[in-house]
Amino acid sequence: MAKRPRLRGAALLGTVPFFAYVAIFLIIPTLVVVIGAFASDDGGFTLSNVRSLGDAYIVEAFGRSIALSAMSALIGAALGAVLAYALVTARPDGILRRVVTSAAGVLAQFGGVTLAFAFLATIGLSGFLTLWLSDHGIDLYGNGVWLFELPGLTLVYTYFQIPLMVIVFLPALDGIRPQWREAAESLGSSTWQYWTRVAGPLLAPAFLGSALLLFANAFSAYATAAALVSQGSPIVPLQIRGALTSEVVLGQANLGKAMALGMVIVVAVVMTLYALLQKRTAKWLG
């Protein structure tokens, strides 16, 4: 019996490499951001970095980031839900459903530089669709080149948001039992009543939760925007790039960390709401 505590200590040794590694490359970087956001250039405590988050250009960047994430999440959630429903009406073990879910799994991961170039090849100034449309008398950019601004980014982001929605929303749709519809119909409900009174409320937490996940996904995305937008820094991740790569203004060396902290807080709030809604979904449709 006396051996036990010693053994447990020895057992703990086995996890040292993992914890040491995570401490150096995950915990320390996180602390650097959190502490750095409140540190002045000479290392003392200051609130000036956090106060600088109130500067007009940073507030605008956060506003644009949130608008971009919200728009792409809403469009992605709506279209993704429609696509997921279309899949549910197909045979559950059919080839169509398997192919589309596999493709969604792949496309949800598709982001970054390659996605930006895919859209440049499509609707860039000399892109395939741009040229084809202008041959037919339609000027895609008659009102200015919107591809490198928020509308363009929203369109490009939808490309990975829709597949992600299909993946996260499909299980909830599968939880809807056909018997419920039969029960509603045998009580005399119309299709409209079934969707607004039965299926809609049941799916609402899942839909909202998935939309939040999509929001966090777009909010954290950097590579696609970085490859697409080379002039100016409309959104927060690009502002952080600016803070990291350009010559820092005196007294603002830690501004990038404050912005990073702001991003973490937004993502944390969104993900907490997501987890809460996820619990409700599991209870209702599990």
């Binding site: 086995g14 995950l26 429609v82 982001g111 390659t114 970085a226 990291l244």
Partner: protein
């Protein structure tokens, strides 16, 4: 009633195909455009498969490709060495630590890469100082990035087998802990380990944020750089990289399918 059901089935089929055709066009159009765009210059694709010629014409690109392959291989290796023994060990000996390990492994999901890179910059100042600025040092950061995906794959594999009984059987036959992990548990979670490695490779080949902001090179950084000088070539390389990732992930999903159907049958 039967007429109603048939009518609904017909309606649903029409709805299904309308949705699939509209969204299918949206998803296939950029891919088709990449094919069209990258074949505008007939020399692009032959050059891409001619490695000596390619590395002579675009040394940065060749450098990026080699770096990415090295990073993918080393990240898979480091991830497996770090995660597999720890996951097995915690399950067997320290079940109380499991929530903590799981929390740490999933933590990178809530920290955007752009935020992580801000915090990694000072850590990498030390890495530079201690082992130099090679682009292979990115492996340290990438192992953190892939932790959530790899952990979930390996954890699912471990949940599917009775680790404790296997380990006790091996121990009672006199094997040491290393033998238990290496020769008893590991062969039983082979497919989980393989899918973790596949996911790692796919993620590393697509990584851009950390590499570009820590001033190192990889495939994505090279493509981005190439886009500034040769649009056709950069689209061709993008398409090739994309096809490679598609193949990897589709093989992975088929693999996952086979595993679940095998489980259902048994």
């Amino acid at each position: 009633m039967a007429g109603l059901a048939a009518k609904r089935a017909r309606k649903q089929r029409a709805f299904r195909w309308t949705v699939l055709i509209v969204l299918g066009t949206f998803f296939l159009l950029p891919l088709a455009a990449m094919v069209e765009f990258s074949t505008r210059n007939s020399e692009t694709w032959p050059l891409l498969v001619d490695w000596p010629q390619l590395s002579a014409t675009y040394p940065d690109l060749a450098n990026g490709i080699v770096s990415s392959l090295g990073q993918a291989a080393l990240t898979s290796l480091l991830m497996l060495v770090l995660l597999v023994p720890t996951a097995i060990w915690v399950r067997l000996r320290l079940p109380k630590l499991r929530p903590l390990v799981e929390f740490l492994c999933l933590l990178p999901l809530t920290i955007p890469a752009i935020v992580l890179v801000v915090g990694l910059a000072p850590v990498y100042a030390w890495v530079n100082y201690l082992i130099g600025g090679s682009s292979l040092t990115l492996v340290f950061a990438y192992t953190i990035l892939v932790l959530p995906y790899a952990y979930r794959a390996i954890d699912a594999g471990l949940s599917a087998i009775d680790v404790k009984t296997l380990a006790e059987a091996a121990r009672s036959l006199g094997s040491g802990w290393m033998t238990v992990i290496w020769r008893v548990v590991l062969p039983n979670i082979r497919s989980a380990v393989l899918s973790a490695a596949f996911l790692t490779v796919a993620l590393v080949l697509g990584e851009f944020t950390i590499a570009s902001l820590l001033h190192r090179t990889n495939l994505q950084v090279a493509i981005d750089y190439l886009g500034k000088s040769s649009a056709t070539m950069s689209v061709a390389v993008s398409l090739a990289a994309l096809l490679l990732a598609f193949v990897l992930l589709i093989v992975l999903s088929l693999f996952g399918d086979r595993r679940t159907t095998a489980k259902e049958k048994s």
